[in-house]
Symmetry: C2
Subunit: 198 residues, 2 copies
C-alpha cells in the first residue's frame, strides 16, 4: 500500500490527503477519466498543484492511493452467524458502492486508465481482492459451521450474486441496495443447495 | 445506425471501411483508448487520415461505427428448439467475444470513452441491446413452447448466466467458451425451475 512519504519537519495532513482523494473521486464520477486533470483536482480540493505533487509525484501514484483507500470505510466485515444474512449485508454494501459516485468513479478509472497497468493492478490487489475476500470469508464461515462443502466457496454459485450487480454496473442498469435480499434468496441460496453436505 | 455518406462519383469501398474498423479494434485491444490515435489507425489500415475523415468526420462517429458493426458477424441467432441448447450457444458466443480482442477493445472503448455519452449510447443501443434481445428471445421461445411462465424472461435467473461472464470480463478473470455448458447447467437452468408452469 502506498503511503505518503513524510517530509522532514512537515507531516502530511490527513485531512488534506482525504480532500484531494475525495476531489479525484468526484471529478471521475462526473467527468470521467478524460476530465481528470491536476488543475481540476487542485481547485476542487482547495490546494495547490505543488501540494498534490509533493505527496504524489505522478498522477498514477495519486490514482493508486485513491483506489487503495476506496474500500476502507465501505467494506465492513460482519459475521452474523448466518450465511444468508452475511451475503445480504455484502450484496447491499456492494450495491450501495456500485450504484453511487464511487461506482461511477471506479468505472471511469478502471477502464479509462486501462492502458496503465498500475491502475488495473491496484484495483485487483485492492478493492477487488478485498470484496472477493469478504465474500469468500462468508462462504468459508458457512463451511466451518458445517453448512456447506468446501467447493462452494469457488463455485459459480459464489460468483452469481455479485455477478448480477457487476453486470448491471457495467451495462448501466439500475442497482440499489434494496435488491440484496432478492438476489440472495432467489439466486445465491438456491444455487448453493448442491453444496449442502450429506 | 450511422452509415457512411456516399459522395457523388465516389462510392465508399466496404473493404476499406472494414479495414479501418478492424484497425481501431486491434489498437483498442492492445493499447487501450489512450493509444487510439487517427495516425495509428491510418498506418495500420493502410489509408490516409483524409480517407478516414471523409467517411467519419469525427472520432466519435468512427467509434460509433465500430461499435455498430461489432456484433454483426458474431451474434448468430440459433433456434435449436431447446432452451438449454439455445443458451449454451449464446453463452459460448458471448464468452468467445468477451475473452478475445473484441472484448478487450469493448472494455477499452466503453470505459475509456466514458465521458463521451455517444459511445455509451452506441453500446447500449447496439451490441448490448442485440445480446439482450438474443437472450430474451431464447427465453420467450421457451415461454411460447409452454416450458416457462412469462416472468422468466425478465428474472434474475435470466441475468445470471451472462452476469457470470460479464463480471469475469470486468475484473479480468479468465473466460472461455468451454464454460458455457457448466454455466447453463449449474446456474441458469436450476434458477429457472421456479418459472416452470403448473
Amino acid at each position: 500500500m502506498i503511503r505518503e512519504a513524510a517530509r522532514p519537519g512537515r507531516r502530511p495532513n490527513p485531512a488534506r490527503g482525504n480532500a484531494i482523494r475525495a476531489a479525484v473521486v468526484e471529478i471521475l464520477a462526473s467527468d470521467g477519466y478524460a476530465g481528470l486533470t491536476m488543475d481540476a483536482v487542485a481547485v476542487l480540493a482547495g490546494v495547490s498543484k505543488a501540494t498534490i505533487y509533493r505527496r504524489w509525484p505522478t498522477k498514477t501514484e495519486l490514482l493508486v492511493s485513491v483506489i487503495d483507500h476506496a474500500s476502507d470505510e465501505t467494506l465492513t466485515v460482519r459475521d452474523t452467524g448466518s450465511l444468508r444474512d452475511d451475503l445480504v449485508h455484502l450484496i447491499a454494501a456492494l450495491a450501495d458502492i456500485l450504484g453511487g459516485p464511487g461506482g461511477a468513479a471506479s468505472r471511469a478509472l478502471l477502464f479509462g486508465a486501462a492502458s496503465d497497468p498500475a491502475i488495473g493492478r491496484a484495483f485487483r490487489s485492492g478493492p477487488m481482492d478485498r470484496w472477493g475476500a469478504a465474500f469468500g470469508a462468508a462462504f468459508r464461515r458457512a463451511v466451518d459451521r458445517g453448512e456447506l462443502t468446501p467447493d462452494a466457496a469457488t463455485s459459480y454459485a459464489a460468483e452469481s450474486g455479485p455477478g448480477i450487480l457487476v453486470q448491471r454496473w457495467t451495462v448501466g442498469r439500475p442497482i440499489d441496495p434494496s435488491m440484496a435480499e432478492d438476489v440472495v434468496d432467489e439466486v445465491v441460496l438456491p444455487l448453493i443447495e448442491r453444496y449442502r453436505p450429506g
